[in-house]
């Protein structure tokens, strides 16, 4: 079999995530390329969640809307994902879950129920009706006598996910040993749970027969299993991170939480009372010479602009990793969006230099997190690293990252009493830095405009000199960054180009493989913004963004004078799928896309 996508759905808290990890890592440890993404409600227990695992013989970007196999842990999953399984696909389910009417499913909210009812043409369909619809759609039902098998293995109902994952893995051609190896990795901390899941998995492999051959195992060499949050943490540590403060918020907390669990990182991690404290504490640590960063999401970042402006003025090296989620306000707390681009660029009163960069994949999270920290220290200014819910949580198998990255280091000087921290005579705008607390020195910093010694000034000439000094940094940064560091241009010879930023990249590259005559330009630095005017001259231009208003399109107009003819947008909280982006690219290539295309796929 070629590559495939498998999905597992069930109630939150019932083990969907772990089952998916075992399945995905089983294919990964046996040498296949595997990636996984999760969708879930803002809820601890009971509401619907699901995970997709894509398995390929070669690394392939992105996720499809349609899957080749679905393991349904409950009736709600059957209902919600009707139509998601491709003809010829498998439906692995517990027949006992196929009972009653959709109206009796308490967490299947009315709009979702009505969609299924409309699709079936039945006012209040039963789950049998739903199952029949799968059959009619060419999907092969695979009933699993879950109760009996769980009993036989001495397992509780919480192991249902493992069972349905094991059956699917078996039918999709995975070796038994690989599944068990993955199981061991995921449940290593809980020996009894592991033993029980092992018995259950062995039963599944015994009672079911392979239906497909797994993709060939071509991944050679060492491998790691990471998500974007881990990659970001690793990148920062490699560049020298020593301090991270945070206030809990989805989906930004995974990164500090991961570091808390790994003291070998050497990072001091502090959970604080609010986001104001998080950002100011990180600034304090940075001023003392320890590379510091914090992670947050939209609502938390909304509380930080004052401190961002402070860091800009006092020239504190600060990294904020902004994991965007669906806004505005509390919005869609566990869903995906790229709605904070312009906010990240303009947050904070007054004018000060900053860098803003965005990653397009888990691998780039590692690279960019390290780069963000290095630039913050090189230029003594705040750097915002844009990521999002999708990148935070997408997991995949990769070759181990190279820990030898350029480190975060300041331009330094000999400590001295009354050290002139803000020396004006510097070509690149970066005055030499000594950490607060360095023996042999002392100096002042102030959030007021200041003189070279960090004392308050309101002198009109000094003000202009200091403002100019700070803003010079951007020029130096722009000169340091080669154009290819600021953007990546795929298929630049094509007459039409889609411009995007951040995590839309993977779906875009997957679509590019299907559509001729289009290039993709990934903007990596949003500030300073690359000179795209010439690059895009004479091309037909569209933008691709996960938001409702086309924020990059506005930035392109502002920075490069380019007005894209088409905005391809999505704001339903679900990441872009390969199918819908491909279709939009086709329409754009034919010149039939119109001014605004809204992508709507996703469960």
């Amino acid at each position: 079999m070629r590559g495939f996508t498998w999905r597992i759905g069930g109630p939150q808290g019932a083990g969907v995530d772990r089952a998916a990890q075992v399945f995905a890592q089983g294919f990964a440890v046996s040498g296949r390329y595997a990636a996984m993404r999760r969708e879930y409600h803002s809820n601890i227990m009971g509401r619907h969640s699901y995970a997709d695992v894509r398995v390929e013989a070669e690394p392939r970007p992105g996720f499809f809307a349609r899957v080749n196999a679905l393991s349904a842990m409950d009736g709600e999953t059957l209902a919600r994902h009707l139509g998601a399984v491709s003809p010829g696909g498998l439906l692995v389910y517990d027949p006992e879950a196929v009972r009653g009417r959709l109206s009796s499913l308490s967490f299947l909210d009315p709009p979702a129920r009505e969609r299924v009812a409309r699709a079936l043409g039945i006012a209040d369909p039963s789950l049998e009706d739903v199952l029949e619809a799968y059959r009619l759609g060419g999907v092969e039902p695979v009933p699993v006598p879950a109760k009996a098998l769980l009993k036989e293995a001495g397992a509780g109902s919480r192991a249902l996910g493992t069972l349905l994952a094991a059956v699917a893995a078996r039918m999709l051609g995975l070796e038994r040993s690989a599944f068990l190896q993955a199981l061991e990795g995921v449940f290593s901390a809980r020996p009894e749970v592991l033993a029980m899941n092992r018995r259950l998995s062995e039963l599944a492999f015994e009672r079911f027969e392979p239906k497909h051959e797994a993709p060939p195992a071509r991944f050679a060499g060492a491998r790691i299993w990471v998500n974007g949050s881990m990659a970001s943490a690793m990148g920062k540590v490699a560049a020298g991170l020593g301090f991270m403060s945070y206030y809990p918020i989805t989906p930004a907390t995974e990164e500090p939480f991961y570091l808390e669990a790994h003291p070998e990182s050497g990072v001091t991690v502090v959970q604080v009372e609010d986001e104001l404290s998080a950002v100011n504490m990180a600034i304090g640590a940075a001023l003392a010479g320890t590379p510091a960063a914090l992670t947050t999401s939209g609502p938390g970042f909304s509380l930080m602009p004052e401190a961002l402006s402070f860091a800009g003025l006092v020239e504190a090296p600060l990294v904020v990793t902004l994991y965007q989620r669906g806004g505005p306000s509390t919005g869609l707390p566990t869903r995906h969006e790229q709605g904070d681009l312009l906010f990240a660029l303009f947050a904070g009163h007054g004018e000060f230099p900053r860098a803003v960069l965005a990653s397009g994949s888990v691998e780039e999270m590692y690279e960019d997190a390290a780069l963000a920290l290095r630039l913050a220290w090189r230029y003594q200014m705040p750097v915002v690293h844009l990521a999002d819910k999708h990148l935070a949580q997408v997991q995949k198998v990769l070759s181990p990252f190279d820990p030898a990255v350029p480190r975060a280091e300041p331009k330094t000087a000999e400590p001295a009493p009354a050290f002139p921290r803000y020396r004006l005579e510097v070509e690149d705008g970066v005055s030499p830095f000594i950490p607060v607390g360095e023996p042999g020195g002392y100096y002042w910093i102030t959030s007021d405009e200041h003189d070279e010694y960090g004392h308050i000034t309101e002198d009109p000439e000094l003000r202009v000199a200091m403002m100019d000094k700070r803003l010079k940094k951007l020029k130096a940064l722009r000169a340091e960054l080669a154009p290819e560091a600021m953007y990546r241009y795929y298929r630049p010879e094509a007459p039409a180009v889609v411009v995007g930023w951040g995590s839309v990249k993977e779906a875009a590259l997957a679509a590019l493989a299907e559509v001729a005559g289009i290039g993709y330009l990934q903007v990596r630095f949003l500030a300073p913004f690359p000179n795209l005017g010439e690059v895009l001259a004479g091309k037909r231009v569209a933008v691709l963004e996960q938001n409702a208003t086309g924020q990059l399109a506005r930035l392109l107009a502002m920075e490069s004078g380019i007005r894209p003819e088409t905005l391809i947008l999505k704001y339903n909280g679900r990441p872009m799928t390969i199918e819908e982006v491909t279709e939009a690219f086709r329409a754009f290539a034919r010149g039939e896309a119109g001014p605004r295309v809204v992508l709507r796929e996703g469960v």
Partner: protein, 283 residues
């Protein structure tokens, strides 16, 4: 070093008669008494008249944002535990816009000293009521009597978990210097509330008003290490004809640095630390 060597060349721009002059004198006296040097001390302030203090002292001085001195000070201390860190806040800065940090810091017990300059008004913005001003009081900057009640910094510090709680008077330089020195010596989070007049905007509680009321707690046989919560609260709430100063509460609890195990955190090269994480993610 002598107290005078800690005074910087910058001339204070506080009003004549401001309590802050007494506080600067007490700080330099305490630094000299403890044998500190300028490069081993960091002062972190917020915004307001009190915040300018750092510019008048020869030491690392960080004049930060309104209400945010404590988070910056904690970040600094956790990054450089060997440093003597002193956070400085005004009453509005500490008990108003920064009150959340006051509570958060109390729960952690980071080893630093927090000085709360309390003159009951927002001086820099022309005398509005601070969170420490009594209900119904009307110093001259107010258009009407204060409609909001007073927060007691000592009681709040106790509730939040501060392990050293003291109060001094700005013009009792000798007594205040001793409290500051004790607060620096204390291992854990120390609060010294400093009562001070605002000669420009607080015409109710003047230097003389305080001077005739304050008395040292220890003269009354008060023991801050033995005082029960009830005894502490009674002393902390005492106000009016007789106002106690001195150390109200002193306990030893593990500092946040100890709880974090800062001294055991690996300090090897970043690449080695990253490699450890990457190795751990192997499958």
């Amino acid at each position: 070093m002598k107290p005078a060597t800690f005074r910087s060349e910058i001339s204070p721009d506080w009003c004549p008669g401001c309590g802050n002059y007494g506080i600067v004198a007490a700080l330099t006296r305490a630094f000299a008494a403890l044998g500190l040097s300028s490069d081993r001390v960091a002062l972190v302030s917020g915004i307001g008249c009190s915040a300018k203090t750092v510019h008048y002292l020869n030491a690392y001085g960080l004049h930060t944002l309104h209400g945010r001195g404590l988070p910056v000070a904690q970040g600094l201390k956790l990054a450089r535990p060997e440093l003597t860190v002193i956070a400085i806040a005004g009453d509005g800065d500490g008990m108003g816009i920064g009150a959340g940090h006051f509570v958060g810091a109390g729960r952690r017990n980071v080893d630093l000293l927090y000085l709360l300059f309390n003159n009951e008004v927002y001086g820099m913005t022309k005398g509005q009521a601070a969170p420490t001003l009594e209900l119904g009081a009307r110093p001259k900057g107010l258009a009407r009597p204060n409609l909001q009640g007073r927060v007691n910094p000592l009681a709040l510090a106790y509730a939040a978990g501060f392990t050293f709680i003291a109060r001094g008077f700005a013009f009792d330089t000798r007594g205040l210097a001793e409290l500051i020195a004790e607060g620096i010596r204390h291992r854990g989070l120390a609060l010294v509330e400093i009562l001070q007049p605002c000669p420009t905007y607080n015409d109710l509680h003047t230097r003389e008003w305080f001077a005739e009321r304050i008395y040292p707690l220890k003269e009354a046989g008060y023991d801050p290490e033995a005082a029960s919560p009830g005894v502490f609260l009674e002393a902390a709430e005492a106000w009016g004809e007789r106002i106690p100063v001195g150390i109200f509460w002193r306990r030893r609890l593990p500092t946040f640095e100890e709880r974090l195990g800062l001294s055991e955190l690996p300090k090897n090269a970043p690449a080695a630390r990253a490699r450890a994480l990457i190795e751990d993610a192997r499958i």
